[in-house]
Subunit: 287 residues, 2 copies
């Protein structure tokens, strides 16, 4: 019997002796210039994508991460998005959710071409929107790609891995400043911001750095069973639009319209839109 | 190096090949007539209480479970509670949170006396309120204890283990009917109701059975990193008082008063009071 265990460790991780262990039916590995890709076929979570030993996404619970990194910001925008930039997210799940908002164009900037090719081949239910004609795939370093861009995007989404290796620069104030410039006047930035339970210092640093750049900064939370501790966060940085002051009735109508054309969402709804922003006390307690 | 792994299995568990593995510094075991008690000293979670192989509580994250099983119902009551009944919860954490509301009397009905004695000795930060003079310890079967009682309690809290063995009867309509009768006219019932992700059918059954008995039934959710999937639920059954219609300003004042006398809460606050009731779509999706 084959078991895969992700032992939580590495920079920024508060847990030192904890892991999630999962029974595996089949395993496929490949090495790219950037990382080791592991595809596991599991009993409980379906196919599971693991990069450098860290679970990235699984067929069973990916809908939570991908819906929650996309819909709070996109529904806060309150209008049809013209141009959306996704940094990271090579599996395509984030783009799949963005497409439901019917944008004119989505640019996906992924550093590792092989992740995209791998996801297209092995994870079609997640990568399905990558072939959409409105999606441009750019194989580049997202940190470099955004430099010098001004007033271009309605939404920028950072769907990155932990702050180790190439993703480290996506957690820094200088990057957030460039993202701010690349956004339109009512633009919204959103990034995954690690586990407030298992990576508390990293999470708080993201929020703090974003507060130096954006006037409205809103962390929010979702249950992601295959990520460390199961408690995950995302953080919105916004110029003028506040997710908390979205009109509830209008939101209800917009969600209903999206579901009519794109199918039922599985996690996000208008209750979750507000409820996810409720902050448990311990996260920002003084040390 | 010693590691403890809880493999998720047993009746009602949807996961079949998943576990949480935790590094252990020291272990202490004992057997009672009802179950096997294991006390682990861990690097990441401090002391950890395990009953029959299932993690019950840890020093590091117990505050989430215990605050969340108590405060939503107690703050919904909106007045000083006279008499509170806790079924299960032999570690004392639930009673500790109830005591913060300054009740006249708390009855703890725990089937296994040795769990209480063990917690008093080994987990003082959790069991600390069990010696309070307003607390009566009753070593009995909670299912039997409640039969025939009428109009006695302001609040009944079911802090039980999974629906295997002695706890099974605490998941059934007949028990909820007896609890309804034992409550006063404005009384509130609350039970832990398993993981909506990992034990979806059991969770939904609790909600459904409660709906047969109580006119107001409200499931709510919290992050509990050491429970299966990290996504946990509680469900309130209420006669007339609805947690969702509690006046936000009054609630804010009441929480502030409680914290002045009992110390800062670590998870619950007035945002969480409403936000925790936001229901992700997938939980009650038709199959």
């Amino acid at each position: 019997m084959l078991w895969f265990t992700e032992y939580y460790s590495g920079e920024g991780m508060d847990l030192k002796g904890t892991g999630l262990t999962i029974k595996v039916k089949n395993a496929l590995t490949t090495k790219t210039p950037f990382q080791e890709i592991l595809l596991l076929d599991t009993e409980d979570f379906g196919k599971m994508l693991v990069l450098d030993g860290a679970i990235q996404t699984t067929e069973k619970d990916e809908f939570i991460y991908h819906e929650m990194i996309v819909h709070p910001a996109l529904f806060t925008l309150g209008r049809k998005p013209e141009r959306v930039l996704v940094i990271g997210g090579g599996d395509g799940g984030t783009v799949r959710e963005v497409i439901k908002h019917n944008p004119e164009k989505v640019e996906l900037v992924e550093i590792d071409r092989e992740v995209v090719e791998f996801a297209k081949r092995e994870l079609p239910s997640i990568s399905c929107a990558l072939d959409d004609e409105r999606v441009e795939l750019i194989f580049d370093d997202g940190r470099e790609y955004i430099k010098g861009k001004e007033n271009l995007y309605d939404i920028i989404i950072v769907d990155c891995s932990d702050p180790i290796g190439p993703s480290r620069v996506l957690y820094e104030e200088e990057f957030y400043k460039d993202a701010f410039k690349a956004l339109k006047d009512d633009g919204i930035f959103v990034t995954q911001s690690e586990s407030p339970f298992a990576q508390n210092r990293v999470h708080k640093k993201v929020v703090k750095e974003l507060q130096k750049v954006f006037s409205i900064v809103r962390p929010y939370f979702a249950f992601i069973p295959t990520y460390p501790s199961g408690m995950w966060s995302f953080t919105i940085g916004s110029k003028i639009l506040d997710p908390l002051t979205v009109n509830p009735e209008k939101l209800l109508g917009k969600v209903s319209n999206l579901e009519k054309s794109a199918g039922k969402l599985k996690y996000y709804n208008s209750q979750i839109h507000y409820g996810a922003f409720a902050v448990p006390n311990f996260i920002y307690e003084e040390e």
